[in-house]
Protein backbone atom coordinates (compact mmCIF):
# COMPACT_ATOMS: atom_id res chain seq x y z
CA UNK A 1 0.00 0.00 0.00
CA UNK A 2 2.70 2.47 1.01
CA UNK A 3 4.69 1.75 -2.14
CA UNK A 4 1.74 2.53 -4.33
CA UNK A 5 1.05 5.84 -2.69
CA UNK A 6 4.65 7.01 -2.81
CA UNK A 7 4.66 6.08 -6.49
CA UNK A 8 1.97 8.61 -7.28
CA UNK A 9 3.57 11.52 -8.94
CA UNK A 10 3.65 14.83 -7.14
CA UNK A 11 3.77 16.64 -10.46
CA UNK A 12 0.17 15.79 -11.27
CA UNK A 13 -1.40 16.49 -7.94
CA UNK A 14 -3.49 19.55 -8.83
CA UNK A 15 -6.79 19.37 -10.65
CA UNK A 16 -5.65 21.79 -13.36
CA UNK A 17 -2.46 19.87 -14.10
CA UNK A 18 -4.36 16.62 -14.26
CA UNK A 19 -6.77 18.28 -16.66
CA UNK A 20 -4.00 19.62 -18.90
CA UNK A 21 -2.31 16.21 -19.08
CA UNK A 22 -5.61 14.40 -19.70
CA UNK A 23 -6.43 16.69 -22.63
CA UNK A 24 -2.96 16.34 -24.16
CA UNK A 25 -3.03 12.55 -23.92
CA UNK A 26 -5.87 12.47 -26.46
CA UNK A 27 -5.19 15.61 -28.55
CA UNK A 28 -2.01 16.13 -30.59
CA UNK A 29 -2.01 19.84 -29.85
CA UNK A 30 -4.25 22.12 -27.82
CA UNK A 31 -4.16 25.90 -27.55
CA UNK A 32 -4.38 28.18 -24.55
CA UNK A 33 -7.92 29.40 -25.10
CA UNK A 34 -9.23 25.89 -25.70
CA UNK A 35 -7.70 24.79 -22.38
CA UNK A 36 -9.40 27.71 -20.70
CA UNK A 37 -12.76 26.64 -22.09
CA UNK A 38 -12.41 22.91 -21.51
CA UNK A 39 -11.02 23.16 -17.98
CA UNK A 40 -12.95 26.28 -16.98
CA UNK A 41 -10.03 28.08 -15.29
CA UNK A 42 -8.69 31.65 -15.19
CA UNK A 43 -5.80 32.88 -17.37
CA UNK A 44 -3.36 33.27 -14.51
CA UNK A 45 -4.10 29.93 -12.94
CA UNK A 46 -3.84 28.09 -16.25
CA UNK A 47 -0.64 29.90 -17.26
CA UNK A 48 1.14 29.04 -14.02
CA UNK A 49 0.25 25.34 -14.24
CA UNK A 50 1.26 25.19 -17.90
CA UNK A 51 4.55 26.84 -16.99
CA UNK A 52 5.15 24.33 -14.19
CA UNK A 53 4.48 21.37 -16.48
CA UNK A 54 6.71 22.89 -19.14
CA UNK A 55 9.57 23.32 -16.67
CA UNK A 56 9.22 19.70 -15.61
CA UNK A 57 9.43 18.80 -19.34
CA UNK A 58 6.01 17.13 -19.27
CA UNK A 59 4.67 19.33 -22.07
CA UNK A 60 6.08 21.22 -25.03
CA UNK A 61 5.16 24.74 -26.10
CA UNK A 62 4.74 25.60 -29.77
CA UNK A 63 4.59 29.31 -30.50
CA UNK A 64 3.10 30.33 -33.83
CA UNK A 65 1.55 33.34 -35.45
CA UNK A 66 -1.86 33.16 -37.07
CA UNK A 67 -1.78 36.34 -39.11
CA UNK A 68 -0.46 38.82 -36.58
CA UNK A 69 -1.95 37.18 -33.53
CA UNK A 70 0.32 34.98 -31.49
CA UNK A 71 -1.07 31.51 -30.97
CA UNK A 72 0.46 29.26 -28.36
CA UNK A 73 -0.31 25.59 -28.47
CA UNK A 74 0.87 22.76 -26.30
CA UNK A 75 1.61 19.09 -26.76
CA UNK A 76 2.75 16.31 -24.46
CA UNK A 77 6.39 15.16 -24.47
CA UNK A 78 7.36 11.49 -24.60
CA UNK A 79 8.44 11.69 -20.96
CA UNK A 80 5.16 13.33 -20.04
CA UNK A 81 3.16 10.65 -21.80
CA UNK A 82 5.12 7.89 -20.08
CA UNK A 83 4.86 9.43 -16.61
CA UNK A 84 1.17 10.20 -16.92
CA UNK A 85 0.41 6.67 -18.15
CA UNK A 86 2.32 5.39 -15.13
CA UNK A 87 0.29 7.72 -12.93
CA UNK A 88 -2.95 6.33 -14.38
CA UNK A 89 -1.71 2.80 -13.85
CA UNK A 90 -0.87 3.60 -10.23
CA UNK A 91 -4.34 4.98 -9.67
CA UNK A 92 -5.90 1.84 -11.09
CA UNK A 93 -3.66 -0.39 -8.96
CA UNK A 94 -4.58 1.64 -5.91
CA UNK A 95 -8.28 1.19 -6.55
CA UNK A 96 -7.83 -2.51 -7.14
CA UNK A 97 -5.83 -2.88 -3.91
CA UNK A 98 -8.62 -1.38 -1.81
Amino acid sequence: MKDLISGLNKIFESRVRLGIMSVLMVNDTYDFNSFKETLDVTDGNLASHLKALEEKKMIRVNKQFIGRKPNTSYSVTDDGRQLFSQHLKNLEDLIRAQ
Binding site: S22, S34, T38, L88, L91, E92
Partner: protein
Amino acid sequence: MENINSSADELKTIRKIMEDSSRFLSLSGLSGLFAGLFAIAGALVAWFLILNRGSIHYDEYFHSLSAKETSILRLQLIGDALAVLLLSIASALWFSARKAEKAGKNLWTPVSRRLLVNFLIPLATGGIFVLILLLQNHIQLIVPGLLIFYGLALLNAGKFTYGEVFYLGLLEIITGLASAIFPSIGILFWVFGFGILHIIYGFFMYRKYES
Protein backbone atom coordinates in the same frame (compact mmCIF):
# COMPACT_ATOMS: atom_id res chain seq x y z
CA MET B 1 -6.92 24.26 -6.41
CA GLU B 2 -7.97 21.54 -4.06
CA ASN B 3 -6.36 18.16 -4.28
CA ILE B 4 -8.40 15.15 -5.16
CA ASN B 5 -8.60 12.73 -2.29
CA SER B 6 -10.02 9.66 -3.81
CA SER B 7 -8.22 7.83 -6.61
CA ALA B 8 -11.49 6.64 -8.04
CA ASP B 9 -12.77 10.20 -8.36
CA GLU B 10 -9.49 11.27 -9.87
CA LEU B 11 -9.62 8.54 -12.50
CA LYS B 12 -13.22 9.36 -13.28
CA THR B 13 -12.32 13.04 -13.76
CA ILE B 14 -9.40 12.15 -16.03
CA ARG B 15 -11.53 9.88 -18.21
CA LYS B 16 -14.25 12.51 -18.46
CA ILE B 17 -11.80 15.23 -19.52
CA MET B 18 -10.23 12.88 -22.07
CA GLU B 19 -13.63 12.10 -23.55
CA ASP B 20 -14.98 15.66 -23.47
CA SER B 21 -11.86 17.08 -25.09
CA SER B 22 -11.58 14.56 -27.90
CA ARG B 23 -15.16 13.62 -28.82
CA PHE B 24 -18.31 15.62 -29.35
CA LEU B 25 -21.03 13.43 -27.88
CA SER B 26 -23.99 15.80 -28.03
CA LEU B 27 -24.80 14.71 -31.57
CA SER B 28 -28.33 13.36 -31.37
CA GLY B 29 -29.66 10.32 -33.20
CA LEU B 30 -32.89 12.23 -33.78
CA SER B 31 -31.11 14.59 -36.16
CA GLY B 32 -30.15 11.58 -38.30
CA LEU B 33 -33.74 10.41 -38.28
CA PHE B 34 -35.02 13.81 -39.39
CA ALA B 35 -32.32 14.25 -42.04
CA GLY B 36 -33.54 10.97 -43.52
CA LEU B 37 -37.17 12.08 -43.52
CA PHE B 38 -36.28 15.42 -45.13
CA ALA B 39 -34.26 13.64 -47.83
CA ILE B 40 -37.18 11.37 -48.69
CA ALA B 41 -39.59 14.32 -48.70
CA GLY B 42 -37.18 16.16 -51.01
CA ALA B 43 -37.05 13.19 -53.36
CA LEU B 44 -40.87 13.01 -53.44
CA VAL B 45 -41.08 16.72 -54.24
CA ALA B 46 -38.53 16.27 -57.03
CA TRP B 47 -40.30 13.23 -58.46
CA PHE B 48 -43.92 14.42 -58.35
CA LEU B 49 -43.66 18.20 -58.61
CA ILE B 50 -40.48 18.98 -60.49
CA LEU B 51 -39.91 15.94 -62.73
CA ASN B 52 -43.61 15.32 -63.32
CA ARG B 53 -43.67 11.73 -62.02
CA GLY B 54 -40.62 10.80 -63.94
CA SER B 55 -42.12 11.70 -67.30
CA ILE B 56 -39.23 14.11 -67.45
CA HIS B 57 -36.38 11.69 -67.38
CA TYR B 58 -33.85 14.04 -65.92
CA ASP B 59 -30.79 12.46 -67.42
CA GLU B 60 -31.77 12.08 -71.07
CA TYR B 61 -34.01 15.11 -71.02
CA PHE B 62 -31.27 17.38 -69.76
CA HIS B 63 -28.89 16.05 -72.33
CA SER B 64 -31.21 16.55 -75.24
CA LEU B 65 -31.78 20.21 -74.43
CA SER B 66 -29.43 23.11 -74.12
CA ALA B 67 -28.57 24.28 -70.64
CA LYS B 68 -30.69 27.38 -71.12
CA GLU B 69 -33.94 25.53 -71.73
CA THR B 70 -33.59 23.39 -68.65
CA SER B 71 -32.34 26.13 -66.38
CA ILE B 72 -35.64 26.50 -64.51
CA LEU B 73 -35.74 22.77 -63.88
CA ARG B 74 -32.15 22.88 -62.69
CA LEU B 75 -32.84 25.76 -60.33
CA GLN B 76 -35.87 23.96 -58.91
CA LEU B 77 -33.81 20.83 -58.27
CA ILE B 78 -30.99 22.86 -56.68
CA GLY B 79 -33.53 24.66 -54.52
CA ASP B 80 -35.08 21.34 -53.48
CA ALA B 81 -31.68 19.86 -52.56
CA LEU B 82 -30.66 23.02 -50.67
CA ALA B 83 -33.92 22.96 -48.71
CA VAL B 84 -33.19 19.36 -47.66
CA LEU B 85 -29.64 20.35 -46.65
CA LEU B 86 -30.72 23.41 -44.65
CA LEU B 87 -33.55 21.60 -42.86
CA SER B 88 -31.19 18.75 -41.98
CA ILE B 89 -28.55 21.13 -40.61
CA ALA B 90 -31.18 23.05 -38.65
CA SER B 91 -32.54 19.85 -37.09
CA ALA B 92 -29.01 18.60 -36.32
CA LEU B 93 -28.26 21.85 -34.49
CA TRP B 94 -31.58 21.91 -32.69
CA PHE B 95 -31.47 18.33 -31.42
CA SER B 96 -27.78 18.59 -30.49
CA ALA B 97 -28.39 21.81 -28.58
CA ARG B 98 -31.21 20.09 -26.72
CA LYS B 99 -29.09 17.05 -25.91
CA ALA B 100 -26.16 19.23 -24.77
CA GLU B 101 -28.43 21.28 -22.57
CA LYS B 102 -29.90 18.18 -20.95
CA ALA B 103 -26.38 16.90 -20.18
CA GLY B 104 -25.29 20.35 -18.97
CA LYS B 105 -22.65 20.62 -21.69
CA ASN B 106 -21.70 23.36 -24.12
CA LEU B 107 -22.45 23.00 -27.81
CA TRP B 108 -19.65 25.27 -28.97
CA THR B 109 -16.43 23.70 -27.68
CA PRO B 110 -12.92 23.18 -29.07
CA VAL B 111 -13.85 19.64 -30.14
CA SER B 112 -17.17 20.62 -31.75
CA ARG B 113 -15.26 23.23 -33.77
CA ARG B 114 -12.75 20.59 -34.88
CA LEU B 115 -15.60 18.32 -35.81
CA LEU B 116 -17.21 21.05 -37.88
CA VAL B 117 -14.01 21.98 -39.74
CA ASN B 118 -13.27 18.35 -40.54
CA PHE B 119 -16.83 17.80 -41.71
CA LEU B 120 -17.22 20.99 -43.73
CA ILE B 121 -14.03 20.87 -45.79
CA PRO B 122 -14.88 17.66 -47.71
CA LEU B 123 -18.56 18.65 -47.80
CA ALA B 124 -17.91 22.09 -49.30
CA THR B 125 -15.44 20.56 -51.77
CA GLY B 126 -18.21 18.18 -52.83
CA GLY B 127 -20.75 20.98 -53.10
CA ILE B 128 -18.49 23.03 -55.37
CA PHE B 129 -17.54 19.97 -57.41
CA VAL B 130 -21.20 19.08 -57.93
CA LEU B 131 -21.96 22.64 -59.06
CA ILE B 132 -19.19 22.30 -61.64
CA LEU B 133 -20.68 18.99 -62.77
CA LEU B 134 -24.04 20.69 -63.15
CA LEU B 135 -22.58 23.56 -65.18
CA GLN B 136 -20.78 21.09 -67.44
CA ASN B 137 -23.93 19.04 -67.91
CA HIS B 138 -22.71 15.85 -66.21
CA ILE B 139 -26.11 15.41 -64.60
CA GLN B 140 -25.74 11.67 -64.09
CA LEU B 141 -22.75 12.20 -61.77
CA ILE B 142 -24.45 14.62 -59.39
CA VAL B 143 -26.09 12.10 -57.05
CA PRO B 144 -22.93 9.93 -56.91
CA GLY B 145 -20.86 13.09 -56.24
CA LEU B 146 -23.13 14.22 -53.41
CA LEU B 147 -23.17 10.77 -51.77
CA ILE B 148 -19.43 10.18 -52.09
CA PHE B 149 -18.33 13.58 -50.75
CA TYR B 150 -20.90 13.45 -47.97
CA GLY B 151 -19.57 10.01 -47.05
CA LEU B 152 -16.00 11.33 -47.00
CA ALA B 153 -17.11 14.24 -44.80
CA LEU B 154 -18.71 11.81 -42.31
CA LEU B 155 -15.66 9.56 -42.39
CA ASN B 156 -13.48 12.54 -41.52
CA ALA B 157 -15.81 13.86 -38.82
CA GLY B 158 -16.18 10.39 -37.27
CA LYS B 159 -12.84 10.83 -35.48
CA PHE B 160 -14.38 13.56 -33.33
CA THR B 161 -17.70 12.04 -32.38
CA TYR B 162 -19.34 8.60 -32.12
CA GLY B 163 -17.42 5.93 -34.05
CA GLU B 164 -20.64 4.90 -35.79
CA VAL B 165 -20.48 8.08 -37.88
CA PHE B 166 -17.36 6.68 -39.55
CA TYR B 167 -19.28 3.57 -40.67
CA LEU B 168 -22.24 5.61 -41.87
CA GLY B 169 -19.70 7.51 -44.00
CA LEU B 170 -18.39 4.25 -45.46
CA LEU B 171 -21.91 3.15 -46.39
CA GLU B 172 -22.62 6.52 -48.05
CA ILE B 173 -19.44 6.19 -50.12
CA ILE B 174 -20.39 2.66 -51.22
CA THR B 175 -23.92 3.87 -52.10
CA GLY B 176 -22.39 6.75 -54.08
CA LEU B 177 -20.09 4.48 -56.05
CA ALA B 178 -22.97 2.09 -56.78
CA SER B 179 -25.13 4.98 -57.98
CA ALA B 180 -22.40 5.97 -60.44
CA ILE B 181 -22.75 2.53 -62.02
CA PHE B 182 -26.55 2.90 -62.37
CA PRO B 183 -27.01 6.57 -63.26
CA SER B 184 -30.57 6.24 -64.54
CA ILE B 185 -31.97 5.44 -61.08
CA GLY B 186 -30.04 8.13 -59.22
CA ILE B 187 -33.14 9.25 -57.36
CA LEU B 188 -33.51 5.78 -55.78
CA PHE B 189 -29.91 5.88 -54.61
CA TRP B 190 -30.59 9.34 -53.18
CA VAL B 191 -33.56 7.93 -51.25
CA PHE B 192 -31.47 5.03 -49.98
CA GLY B 193 -28.28 6.97 -49.14
CA PHE B 194 -29.71 10.17 -47.71
CA GLY B 195 -33.06 8.79 -46.61
CA ILE B 196 -33.07 5.17 -45.50
CA LEU B 197 -29.47 5.00 -44.23
CA HIS B 198 -30.02 8.14 -42.11
CA ILE B 199 -33.25 6.82 -40.65
CA ILE B 200 -31.69 3.46 -39.74
CA TYR B 201 -28.63 5.21 -38.30
CA GLY B 202 -30.70 7.75 -36.37
CA PHE B 203 -33.00 5.11 -34.93
CA PHE B 204 -30.05 2.90 -33.94
CA MET B 205 -28.13 5.77 -32.31
CA TYR B 206 -31.17 7.03 -30.45
CA ARG B 207 -31.91 3.57 -29.06
CA LYS B 208 -28.29 2.97 -28.13
CA TYR B 209 -27.34 6.27 -26.50
CA GLU B 210 -30.43 8.27 -25.67
CA SER B 211 -33.19 6.05 -24.41
